[in-house]
């Protein structure tokens, strides 16, 4: 597992029935502890200037797909810090061969932290006080599609 939140391993187009229908990438949880899915606050993905909202991104843990809505009530499935999650995006034709700039924002709740921090969680911008054991909300990486 790489130290960067957006992993280089796992970035590729997705084919279904012989056609490219989208792409996927993997992210690790940069927190010092794992979270239950209902704690997640998925944000916006930007690829080469094109944005995808949370409605357009499916999260996959342990081979099971979850929409962001399904995750909001799931406090049984746990996301471990040692296992990257796969995020899948529908896009006809997928991403072209070559370089792509990805920026993705997400965060999570930590209810033992004071309300002054918890009440202002925004997946697409950083916390007012950065604590490395919580990681950054927004991460970017430049990766290649073959």
């Amino acid at each position: 597992m790489e130290r960067q939140v957006i992993q280089s391993v796992g970035f590729r187009n997705i084919a279904e029935n012989g056609k490219i229908t989208g792409f996927q990438f993997k992210i690790r949880l940069p927190y010092y502890r794992g979270v239950f899915l209902s704690q997640l606050r998925p944000g916006t993905l930007t690829v080469d200037g094109e944005t995808f909202g949370k409605d357009e991104i499916v999260w996959n843990f342990c081979s099971e797909d979850y929409t962001w809505e399904e995750m909001t009530t799931n406090y049984d499935q746990h996301w471990a810090v040692t296992k990257p999650a796969t995020l899948k995006v529908k896009k006809e034709g997928g991403l072209k061969q070559g370089f792509h700039d990805l920026t993705y924002g997400f965060c999570f709740t930590s209810s033992y932290m004071p309300p002054v921090i918890q009440d202002h969680l925004d997946p697409d911008s950083e916390n007012m006080v950065f604590m490395p054991e919580f990681g950054h909300h927004v991460n970017s990486r430049r990766l290649l599609i073959v």
């Binding site: 597992m1 130290r3 010092y32 502890r33 794992g34 979270v35 239950f36 209902s38 704690q39 909001t72 009530t73 406090y75 746990h78 471990a80 810090v81 040692t82 709740t109 209810s111 033992y112 932290m113 004071p114 309300p115 002054v116 604590m131 490395p132 054991e133």
Partner: protein, 290 residues
Amino acid sequence: MYRYDKKGPKRGVALYSYSAEFGLTKNLEECFEDVHDMGAHGIEILANTHIENYPYPSDEWVENWWRLCDKYDIVPVEYGNWIDSHVMGGRDLTTEESVAMLSRDIRLAHRLGFTVMRTKMPVINDKLEPVLNWREIIKGALPLAEKLNMKMCPEIHIPSNLKGEMVTNFVDFIRETGTKNFGLNIDFSVFRTNFSKGEWVDPNYEANKPEDIIPLLPYIYCCHAKFINMSDDFEETTIPYPEIIKVMQENGWDGYLLSEYEGADKYEEGYEVGQTLRKQHIMLKNLLGD
């Protein structure tokens, strides 16, 4: 299982200290071996971090856990868990649902050989006071905790004060229920006297003197030996360790001091937290004799 029969304060390591490395450059076995290198035995784990496939580890993983404890003379002391009744955004968990979550962790802690839990609850204000139904949640789990010989302990941490309202409320609960399965974990940051120039300090914070811990000792089942800055002469420059340990030894306290390094610099490229932990353990070994 390794038994460490020493009476009095004993040293160990909270594996949270390895947060910047765990899963990247250190795995669980390497953390265990690091603790063993220091001649220390006690550990704290974080349930949501160090248990593979939490909250449902496989039997194979658990058997390997025990094998690793034996191999490195590790004593599982404290299991860090969260009773997160605010786990969903839409509604709070009911008391019953919270008790179910806590009970699951009590069983898992017991299965892995732990005897103390560092139990964190959601907070409702910036003074870090816990959710209003904390007493009902804990009472709901006490019979199971008693059956499995588990002591659930919220952690008392800067900016809380040992003589403050939050600790008093916990002690009142212990006295009213007479329970031996709920107590306190004291993080030594409550004794911190020195801060760097320009470092932000909570205006409500007042440092405790080492003797302030004495009336609480019967309820303290584990401590976090917090450290902020170890000099190369193996002294902690911000917290009066020799005085604290002397008070605990003289008053017959028996339990583990689990060293914990929270410093943000452990995430910096090239920082070696194992070396910082070793400095603290040289200090602790010299103060404790072992």
